[in-house]
Amino acid sequence: MSGEPGTRRRKGGGGREHGEQPMVPPAEFTSYYGRPVVKASPWEHDIPAYLFMGGVAAGSSLLSAGADLTDRPVLRRTGRIGALVGLTLSMLALVKDLGRPERFHHMLRVAKPTSPMSVGTWILTLYGPFAGLAGTAELLPPRLRRTLPGRLLGWSARPAGLTAAVVAPAVASYTAVLLTNTATPTWHAAHRHLPFVFVGSASAASGGLGLLAAPLSEASPARRLAVAGAVLELAVERHMEAGMGITAEPLHDGHAGTLMRASKALTAAGAVGAVLGRRSRLLSAVSGAALMAGSACLRFGVFEAGQASARDPRYTVVPQRERVEQHGRTRSV
């Protein structure tokens, strides 16, 4: 880091992987003692963990609703319990990450379309009880099922599961807006594509969970969802990076780069394994686990890359400077 303020420094462009061509020439820029211009979010690993678990929950709700309607009891049970567990862990992670966890309910004071976190709160408020109801119905011990509350729960499981499934896609896609509606360079620059990457990742992970737990006789829909999700994720992510200029660099560098490479490898391998493993319970299960791991790596990778992009003033200053050089200062009218 240059100790000289107001001077221009060149960040080595030599660290790029696979001999890729830089998308733009390395740019010179000025910073104040190399300090960040924007602040990285104070969020810890609870948030990417939530992105992953929320995605698993959302996809699982879709799969379990379909399984319920097409008489696939194991896939239904897996999906409902997967959604319940994913949802519960998500809620715990979200509350834990607050600076004042005891004030979590202040989120319910307002409904603000300009705040993706507020929108997300209301999506989860709508989704949570129904996903929770369907999941609890699966977990109810047999001796309680004959009681009146038990019978009511069993009766409400299908409508609850279907309602959760209708809301579920919003649970999986809004989290992309949560990240991109910030001044964090790598997140914001991804705003046109990240929702598709995230729903792809959620589909791959939840399909993976289905492959892991359901027998071959029930697993076809999970397999199709997983493979389609993996293909969507990999294809759109590639396209996304191509349009991000230098703000794509944090997705290749350092810890985030390692996670993103691991994600791509695991997701691609999982998708191939899922296709080839149609007749092998073991290969299906291994592929499912790989897809879930790939999804988790993607969420942590995107999160870490954004944090790194906020900490280096280069990713804030250079794109803005280039914009000014090419089009003049941003003007709203």
Partner: protein
């Protein structure tokens, strides 16, 4: 609810205030800042802001570092000399192709010799050295389109009748969303000891002394500033005064003087606390062309909606495919 994400507007009436007083703000004229940090101290004292560490940062006289949860005024110190100018020249021509475009041109010779004269003994143009020291007191910009306020999910951040942006300490639950949303890196969540540090875990920033200006007083920093580098007042009036100041400086040959954040048509709709700078914004740690993230939010929601539909369609197709 306001749907105005972008473009020039008067924020207090837009937020629903009727009979709002004129918009208040700061004009920080960095050309007359002497780096005394009275603003930093006065702000801490008045607002009872806890310490932010007592470390020496090795960045000129700046041991505060940056704006943050416990630093609501931050004085930047930038030392510019021909030594760093050589680097500037290389950088400038690489970036713009025009050395003079950035207004930092100085063709000088530094012998690097210590002097036997007392500093400041020589007066007038002959006594000037090649060294330039920029000082600037940074503060929350109180944007017309404030990213922090837009994304706050609890309503803790709100628009005051003066057009400023303030956190309600008893509402904020420390979700931290405002922190990455700010294009200037101003607001932060306060780190400290639970139950001991005031407002620990809560987003904190300059309030433009909401408690003082409501009583017709001047904010603490502006009151304490001994050179009127920090000026408080009605934003319209401050903008006029700033225009005149820049014109006067240009007439004196100081071509590098420029205003920052005064333009209501910029990416954040103009700011309530704007600046007169003597170099490019990034030299002071300010973004050269900030845009409120919410400008792109309608498109983000459209894309998220499409993605959600795609996922639903994918799941339906996965089951419609038949087979076990």
């Amino acid at each position: 609810m306001s749907t105005s994400f972008y473009g020039p507007l008067d924020p207090a009436p837009d937020a629903g205030w009727t009979d709002a007083p004129p918009r208040k703000g700061f004009f920080t004229d960095t050309s007359i800042c002497i780096g005394c940090k009275a603003c930093e101290v006065a702000c801490k004292e008045w607002n009872a802001v806890p310490d932010d560490g007592f470390t020496l940062l090795g960045s000129s006289y700046d041991n505060t570092g940056a704006l943050g949860a416990s630093t609501w005024r931050h004085v930047a110190f930038i030392e510019q000399s021909p030594a760093s100018d050589v680097l500037n020249r290389v950088g400038d021509s690489a970036l713009t192709g025009d050395r003079n475009a950035l207004g930092t041109d100085t063709t000088k010779v530094d012998l690097g010799m210590p002097s036997f004269d007392l500093p400041g003994m020589a007066v007038g143009a002959d006594g000037r050295t090649d060294f330039r020291w920029l000082m600037a007191s940074d503060v929350c910009k109180h944007c017309t389109h404030a990213g922090c306020l837009d994304v706050c999910p609890t309503g803790a951040l709100f628009r005051t009748e003066f057009g400023t942006v303030v956190v309600q300490d008893d509402i904020c639950n420390g979700c931290g969303y405002c922190v990455p949303a700010c294009p200037f890196g101003v607001i932060d969540r306060r780190v400290g000891e639970k139950g001991v540090t005031k407002n620990e875990g809560i987003a904190q920033k300059c309030t433009l002394c909401y408690d003082r200006i409501g009583d017709g007083l001047t904010p603490a920093c502006a009151k304490a500033c001994p050179t009127t580098s920090i000026q408080f007042g009605d934003l319209d009036e401050l903008r006029e005064r700033a225009e005149q100041r820049v014109e006067a400086m240009h007439a004196q040959g100081i071509s590098s003087a420029r205003l920052y954040g005064e333009d209501p048509t910029d990416g954040v709709g103009g700011v309530g606390a704007f600046f007169l700078l003597l170099d490019e914004p990034e030299v002071y740690g300010l973004p050269p062309d900030p845009v409120v993230t919410t400008r792109d939010l309608p498109e983000m929601w459209r894309k998220a909606g499409l993605a959600a539909l795609a996922m639903l369609a994918g799941a339906v197709a996965a089951f419609a495919g038949g087979g076990r």
